[in-house]
Assembly symmetry: C2
Homo-oligomer: 205 residues x 2
DNA sequence: CGGTCTCTTGACGGAGTTCAAAGCTAGTGG
DNA sequence: CCACTAGCTTTGAACTCCGTCAAGAGACCG
């Protein structure tokens, strides 16, 4: 389906990722070299999949350009979106780092997308090459955890309309160029109901 | 397994936490000493708070005995439970590690509870004393993140009854000794509706 | 005991869903 | 560059799950 990466590809630019890491920890020259030698590059065309339901390959991906969505399809066929990944953010199927059961998750490009990625194995090598990487990912994971805790509480405590505005305030530019059905799939309503909410006069309260 | 060296007064037993850490990383004697010197102990009586809404003190707590619940109160006065912490699990208000805004979270003992805890500052000291701690917390945080991602998808995709059974299968012993209103607050329904679900013949499908 | 907190039960209401149909938009090939 | 199609969005009516409010029954602790 998707082509394997060729390591002999012309050199790609890792400066975006480097700078991202440097906002959390400081990197030595050796660590930068290790990073560059372990990270791989990939292009995903719009609507193609980085991870298909049932996949077991564990990888973490840093988005350079474009946008991905991570979602599941429930037993009624409805899609539920865990999140969107825009440039400067990591995504991946963490479950597969800890067990080999096929993932329920799909990760799909909703725009032409470029990523840098590391597999489970290369990530371990990265950790061995410098403790700063362990620290970097600990911090990122903590921040991601906080975000998901907040999301959990939002779904439990806010109405659909409030969740719509929350999403809008968090991702204003993303929401404008996103198909409505994806917004619906993220905030947890049907596309029909989101449409009705909008026509029935949405107003921030 | 030999008991850890108690340098001075054996005020409390950290072997539970030590063993927990050792299931993820290996600890040197020096690291064990650092851990013992930095970790503090605390008892919380039933219904008392480890963290009150509005608190800003950042700490991570390892539960030795008892049980805690972490929750928020929304603007209608309804309580929504983020999670329960039973022996062998960590809890805390991570947001306050990254900003000083008062937390919305409450952490309350629902049984007489004993914890070991570290503050934001001592946690940093722990990281300096050994990279294994960074690794340990990275792994724990990743696992916690996976759990919250799954919870998010469950709330979005499952009915109240399905969430009830999911909760039961994940925490069978906990659910039996938990007031129903807490189960309701976790799965995201009113106590009244949970009561009706049960009387209307709950059956696993 | 007695009071407070928790659980149950019922009637009613509303937020959000389902299904179906029609309009709209955007991508695609000729 | 236009026409065609597939998917996206809108709209409406019927329906369902779950919430709200209120009242009563039970349970726990001082």
């Amino acid at each position: 389906m998707t082509k394997p990466i060729q390591i002999t590809d012309p050199k790609f630019d890792t400066s975006s990722l480097e700078n991202h890491i440097k906002t959390y920890v400081s990197l030595s020259e050796d660590e930068i070299l290790a990073l560059n030698s372990l990270v791989q590059y990939k292009k995903i065309k719009k609507n193609q999949y980085l991870l298909h339901e049932g996949g077991v390959a564990a990888m973490s991906s840093y988005v350079l350009s474009g946008c991905l969505r991570t979602y599941i399809t429930d037993n009624k066929g409805t899609e539920h979106i865990l999140g969107f990944s825009t440039p400067g953010w990591w995504t991946g199927n963490l479950q597969n780092f800890y067990n080999d059961k096929p993932s329920q998750l799909n990760i799909q490009a909703i725009l032409d997308t470029e990523i840098l990625f590391i597999t489970k194995e290369t990530k371990e090598k990265l950790f061995l090459s410098g403790a700063v990487f362990e620290r970097y990912f600990r911090i990122l994971t903590e921040r991601s955890l906080i975000a998901f805790q907040e999301r959990t509480l939002e779904i439990l405590s806010l109405s659909a309309e409030e969740r719509y505005w929350k999403f809008y305030s968090q991702y204003p530019d993303l929401m404008l160029k996103l198909p409505q059905k994806y917004v619906a799939g993220y905030i947890g309503v049907t596309p029909e109901f989101l449409s009705k909410m909008k026509s029935n006069g949405l107003r921030k309260t």
